[in-house]
Each structure stands twice: as structure tokens, then as C-alpha cells.
Symmetry: C2
Subunit: 518 residues, 2 copies
Amino acid sequence: MGKRIALFDTTLRDGEQGEGISFTVEDKIKIAHLLDSLGVDFIEGGWPGSNPKAIDFFKAMKKEKLKHARLAAFGSTCRHGKPAREDKNLNMLIESGAPVAVIFGKTWDMHVTDALKISLNENIILIDESVRFLKSHRRTVIFDAEHFFDGYRHNQAYALEAVTAAQNAGADMVVLCETNGGMLFDDVMSATKTVVDTLHIPVGIHAHNDSDSAVANSIAAVLAGAVQVQGTVNGYGERCGNANLCSIIPNLQLKRGYSIVSEKQLRTLTSVAHHISEIANRTPNNQQPFVGHSAFAHKAGIHVSAIQKNRLTYEHIDPASVGNKQRVLVSELSGISNLLYKAKGMNLDLDKDDPLVKDILARIKAMEHAGYQFEEAEASFEVMVRKALGKHRPLFELISFHVTNEKFGIDDMSVEATVKIRIKGREVHTVADGNGPVAALDRALRKALCDDYPQIASISLSDYRVRVLDSKDGTNAKVRVIIESHDANDLWGTVGVSNDIIEASWQALVDSIEYKLV
Amino acid sequence: MGKRIALFDTTLRDGEQGEGISFTVEDKIKIAHLLDSLGVDFIEGGWPGSNPKAIDFFKAMKKEKLKHARLAAFGSTCRHGKPAREDKNLNMLIESGAPVAVIFGKTWDMHVTDALKISLNENIILIDESVRFLKSHRRTVIFDAEHFFDGYRHNQAYALEAVTAAQNAGADMVVLCETNGGMLFDDVMSATKTVVDTLHIPVGIHAHNDSDSAVANSIAAVLAGAVQVQGTVNGYGERCGNANLCSIIPNLQLKRGYSIVSEKQLRTLTSVAHHISEIANRTPNNQQPFVGHSAFAHKAGIHVSAIQKNRLTYEHIDPASVGNKQRVLVSELSGISNLLYKAKGMNLDLDKDDPLVKDILARIKAMEHAGYQFEEAEASFEVMVRKALGKHRPLFELISFHVTNEKFGIDDMSVEATVKIRIKGREVHTVADGNGPVAALDRALRKALCDDYPQIASISLSDYRVRVLDSKDGTNAKVRVIIESHDANDLWGTVGVSNDIIEASWQALVDSIEYKLV
């Protein structure tokens, strides 16, 4: 077992500062349980002194049971001019009931004189009194040294004096905050080393990603002796985000042998990351290291043929160790080996010398040129290949569909869709309403198919994405619709492309249903 | 002037290996000119031996003039068993006409024995003969040492022997490729240092981002003596992408004083990055360091009040130095200072003690709860604030609209929208068709307004995005539509939310037009 490094997650506090991120109290509770199951040691739930939702969260958490993690409440050192015991902010940390209190204080001299507008010594007294007050209430106290690295660069002696004051007042840990995110790894490494050598209490690191170095900076601090890493899931956070725990955990554990979470917990990393992106309602970043959908996706022909022999040739770790998986992409750049690999996965016998292979590659190229993309729509790809091989039997023949949307004044919209199809020799004509045109069309189609294919009831649509392909044309542009469907066992994506969003949605809907039912 | 570091861009070759990325020859030419204007030294245009589009690109580039950059063609060392001069791959590098030839060769012993299935010495001969052949055609030769860092770890002597062979055969530069992207900065730094000390020709670095460290790894190599950095714009590339030049350039130049591009060129970085993401048809990553839309966006109330006093308090560089800008976000987390900052930008007098301020914050909170998001829709935010202040006069009153979509068999869709509005006391009733329902509705509305507001003709829609808010509900889910509009001078975003995509689009359309015309 390697040296233990503690994980401090601030998705619920600093992560919510990210543009477009807003959690409800229920969201926060769900995320707290996911973090707990992942093996996070500390969960920073919010700043009760600044955000009423944080107060509600800590209240609600009194009824929830965490298996391993401890809750932390965030606040600032007390204000100048009043004793710490009368500071509202500090008292709210106590009232939150969280066993861990995190307070940030100034360590950059310019912030003390220009933002707080007090003397350097007065700031030291604020740090001292705030920590002593929280310790007198028997909290575990973490002192977040805000802007530590900028402070260290501008006035090293003062930055060290400030963190030493926190230690001497009884703080359990000092966390060096790279608040502006602009440092590079060598800055972080040498400053952290000095602090570790200066203090006798443990030191942590809290990095931001403005120089695209938050992960490396966090690792640099650990290599210099830091024993706690603060960050967020998926790197959510203000500006360019916080240090991404989804990268730091596997890097430290798999590449440097530190002990962070169990192997079993590590294998849930991808699903926890995706689940939290769903709660945060952010499209996952496919390129995200370790947990992204593309993180182990191979497109270059030579890579694909090499990984089929030995996956280590183009994979830095076993994707399963973080709960991810290898994928092989098909595109006009990819060679025959990718197509054959895919076909094998579909149980299709395709010989590399079959002239159809060339036809299919040409068809892929033409469809990609028209805006189709199969990388996120492997079910449409399979339907297309089956069609090319003459192995596809359509479920039904469309005679017509019709969708109407009406709005009167400020009333809600009213939507109706009709579908007329020929199925097993009969004409079926159905109508449905719905919340929107695609929902109404989906319902009418399901009604038309459900007598012949009752298993259609088990298929649900789990995501629906629209991408304008040529945005210069505004609402006239061609759109690509990707639909993600699932049943109890399976998840599959389909694609449609058209200038008309309803037509594109129709293509993706039909592919989704045919993929599963044919 | 600091030490000069050369930029080698491989967006057109390795970047195109990224999932979902596919360039036409025209796209590639446009990107080459953008890279040239940014000050890139080498543009790797493709692999003529593997991709016919690359051949077309190099052919087309013979008619294009680059101001500064030199074109590079990519290929591999020759195959075993034939002399280099008969190798098709190598000959295509010469035929491409590119003055720079890049060949990758094996330096990891396992790849030689397991993938190439030849002896270690035979591989050294391939490297030697390939380099000599290209040099005999007077090309600048860059030897890409594939998997160098893995090779160095497993068999240091052989990895060094391979790069030394390239040098001795006359290669102009050896580039150390971190092909699998799994290394951390300390690995890269020490291995690069050894190579720099061993060779007498210049050394470069080519990193991938699988350990979320490509930027730090590239910088580590430069600090160890590398003088060329390879990467892609926006970090496009296979799996987790290549090293992101948009981060490496400003880091090296602004933070370490290296000389890379001119200050003027650096100020175009954000626009070049966005332009290339548009050509690549990838949604820009808002969190992207330096060039992302959120890179200098402040949300936390205390940050906003601090940056108003001194922007250095929460910004690591001046956003203008990379062509980006500061933004202040409004959300339920943000305090009164953010709202007042925004109102000032709208020329609205809003006093912080005005009871309306509280009303507006409550309204923001309720709308965000319903799924609205103003961060990308500042025009809708302004319309909402003007409504709250009683300063908004609607352009028209909707009586009704009606959109029908029909499809018969395999025919194209047919779409028709009618709009009935009351404007300046008159009823206007119009109809239009369009490529899709929203386009038809947009056209009918414009027809209804154009007599009274002829300036509507100058407004174009430049982007249209749809986000499913609660994907669990599939096509029944609530959707958020963001519309981006522009005229000759201005770009603005608006938002609509509804279970019906047409209703949501309508809200965003009306906001867009009212924002500009009221």
C-alpha cells in the first residue's frame, strides 16, 4: 500500500461556481452520496454564510448517513473590528453541524492592504482568532490559504507568516490555494516544499485550471509532500474550473502508487463522473481523460490493428480499471480494420476482400459528408451496414405523417401528430398528442407499432441532442439529431440529418426502434 | 526577447484523428492560413501515404501562399525488406512537395518485436535508411520518436540508440512523442533532459493528454531543453486529444518569457481558436483555459466586487493579451454586485437599495429553477430586467401561430407556418414555408414585422442550440433553446424553455428580435 492521500471534494461549493451549474438541495444530496461511495474523504457542502441553499443542505444532511466521508462547511476568517465569537459567518459554520470547518484567509499581502484594507498584522490576528474560535467548538479546522502562490511570489515571508499563524492557532491542516490558477508545476512544487518544511501540520493543495495545469499542479504538490488534494468531479468550477479529481485519483493511484480509493471504488469512477454530469445537466466532455466517452476510442487505422494485438500499444492504462471501455471508431479516415472490427461486434461475417467492404466505406464517406456522424450513433451505423449487406428488413413502410403545432396568445402550445404506416400488409393510422412535436410523433409511431411489437414499450428515450451543422444558415441550417435510447439491458445511439428537425428526429427514431426490434 | 521555441501544429493530421472531427480539403486550407497568421512555424498537413485527402491538400497548397509557416508531410519509416528508395510511403512524402518531412519510427523495443515483428537492429536500419533517403532529396527531416517515453522506461539504452540513429543519419530534429499520453511531468522532464544531453541536434516534444497533463508535459520538456512543441489548436486529437497549443503558447510566452509569436499574433489566439472550432464543427469548450468563453467569467459575488477594484485579484493574466475578455455572470449564487454590474452595462440606472433589485434576483432564481439560463443568453436577461423595471414595450401581441409538418412516404418534408399578430393596432396575418418548423416560423414572423421594422432584415441567426433539460423524460423532456443572432456590429444570445421545442424556439426568437428592435 502506497502513502495515503486524502481526497477533498468541493463540487458542491467551488464546482457550483462554474458557468451554467446550479444545484438544487436534492441534487446536492444525491451528489454527496455518490462522492461518499467513490471514497472521497471530505465533502465540502457549501458556504452557509453566503448561500441559503447551503444552510438547507447541511440541515438536510443531518438525516442522511454517509459511509465514510465527512462533511465540511466553508466560510471566511472573521471580519475586522468585531471579536470572532460575534462573527455571523463563523457562527454559521458551527450551526451547520458539519464536523469540519474550512475557512479561507488572505496570504497575499496585496489582498490584505487593497481588498480588506487592513494592516498585514491585523490580518494575522483575524486568522488567529478565527481558527481559535472554531477550535474552541471542537471542529476539525482546515485553513484555506487563498492566493497562497501569488502571495508567496510577491512576499514570501508574509505568506509563510500567515499559514504559520493558522498552525499556531490550532488549525488541523493548511491548504495552499492556487486561487487564480495561473501557476505552472515548478512554481507549485517549490513553494509547497517550503511550506511542508516550515509547518509541522499536514498540508493540502487546491488548484484551479486557468493555465491548463491544475492536475499537474496538484500532483506536483503531492510530490512535494502535500497529503490532501482538493478538487471537483469533472473539473467543474469558476472560469476554467477546479482541479479535476477524475484525473488526479487515477494518476496518483495507478501511476505513482499512492493509496487513495479502493480498486473497486476506482472502477466506479466513470459512472460517478457521468452521473454527476447528468445531475449538473452538463454535456459530458467526450475527450475527458480517463472517464470520457472518447478516452479509449481509437480511430487511426494503424492504432486499431495494433490494439487488436496488444492493447498496451496505444492505451496508457486498462480502461476497465476506471470503469471505462475501449471503443473503435469508424470514419472516412479509418481503414478496413476498423470496419471489420465493428462488423465482428455485430456478428456480421464480413470478409476483408469482399467488394461490399469498399462500398460500405464509400457510403460512410458520403453520409459523413452529408453531416451524419456514427461515432455517437453506433446503432444507426449497424442499421446502415445491415442495409448495405441486404440483411435489413424494415419493420414497416411509411405512408405519411403529419405534425401540427398551434399556439393562441399566451396559451400553451397544442401539438398533434398522425402517422399512417403499412405493416405486415395492413394499413395502420394513429394519432397522438405530446409535449412537443417529436414527442407526439414518437407516441403516434409507438401506437402504430405496439400491436405487432409489444416489446416497444420497454424502449425509452434517454437523450435527445440537436446540433446545427452549418450555423451560418441560422434556423435554415441542416441539423443533426442524435437520440440515445435504452431498455433494461442496453443503451444505443442513432442519428438523423436534415434541414428539418422533425425529419431528422424521425430518422433517428426509426433507426432506434428498428435497431432493437428487427 | 526570450529563447525562441518553434511551434509545430498538427491539427490537420493528428487533430483530425479526434472523435467527430473530419475536415474537407477546403477546411484544411482555411485552417492552414489561420495557423500561418497566428505565427505557427510548421503546419503538418497530413499523411499522404495513408489518406488521399492529404495528397489533395498538398496539391492544393502549391497554389496557396503562406507568410511564415512551412508545410510538413507525415509518414513512417520504410518497411522492412525493401530499400527505402522503393518505399511508397517515403516517396509520397517527396511527391507531396512539402519542404519538411516528418517520419515516425519505433523506439519502444516491444513495438519493434511485437508489432513490426523484426529485430531491434533491423529497426535501427529502417530509421537510418529512411532518414538518409529523405535527406538525399534535400528535405528538412524531423524524426518523430513514437512511444519514446514508454520505450525509455522499458529499455532506455535502445530508445536512445534509436534517436541517435536518426541523428547520425542526418535528421534535423528528433521529436520525443508521448504517444500514449500516460506520463506525468517528472517522467517527461528527466527523459527529455537525458536526450538533450545525448544528442547534438535540436529536440522537440509531442504530447497527448490521456493523463490530463499534455500541457504540463510539453512545458516540462521545454524546461528540460526541448525547442519545438507539437500540438493542436483546442487540443483536438485521438482519445483525449493532443497537447493544446492554445494553452502552451500563452503559458510559455506570458509566464516564462519564451519568444513564440508576436504580441499582436497572441491577441488573435481566441479568435483563431473559435474560428477553427467552427470549421471543425465542434462546440467550443467554454471552460477552455485562455480562450474559452468562461475563461475570465466571474460568478462568485466576492470575486466580482474584488475584480471591480483590481482585476489581478482573480485573473492570472490580462484577458486582452490573448484576445479574450472579462465577463460577469448573473445567477442565483451571485450577489447584488453582479446584477448592478450588468445593469450598468445596459445603461439601466439601478440603485442597490432599490426594492426592485431583490425582485429581480428572485425572478432570476425562479426562472433558473424552471430551466432558463442567462449566462449564454444575456439579451434575454436584458429583456427580462427591462420587463421587471416596466421599461419594456413589446413590439407586437401574438394572436396565434400554427406550424404544420407533413411527410408522404420517402418524399421530403413539407412545412408551413402561419403567424397572426396585432401590431400598432392592426392585425397582420402571414404565412411562410421553410426548411424546418422553426425556420418557417421565423420567416412568417419576419414577414409580419418587416413593414413596421424594415431593419429586421439585417438580423441573422448564427447559432441555434437545443439542450434537453431532463433527459430521463426522452422526447417529453423540457428543452432549452439558445439562439445566437447577429447583425453587422453585434452578437447576442437569447433563451427559451418549454416542453415543446417550437414554443421554446419562439420565446428565444421573440427575445432576439425585441432585444434589437425595441
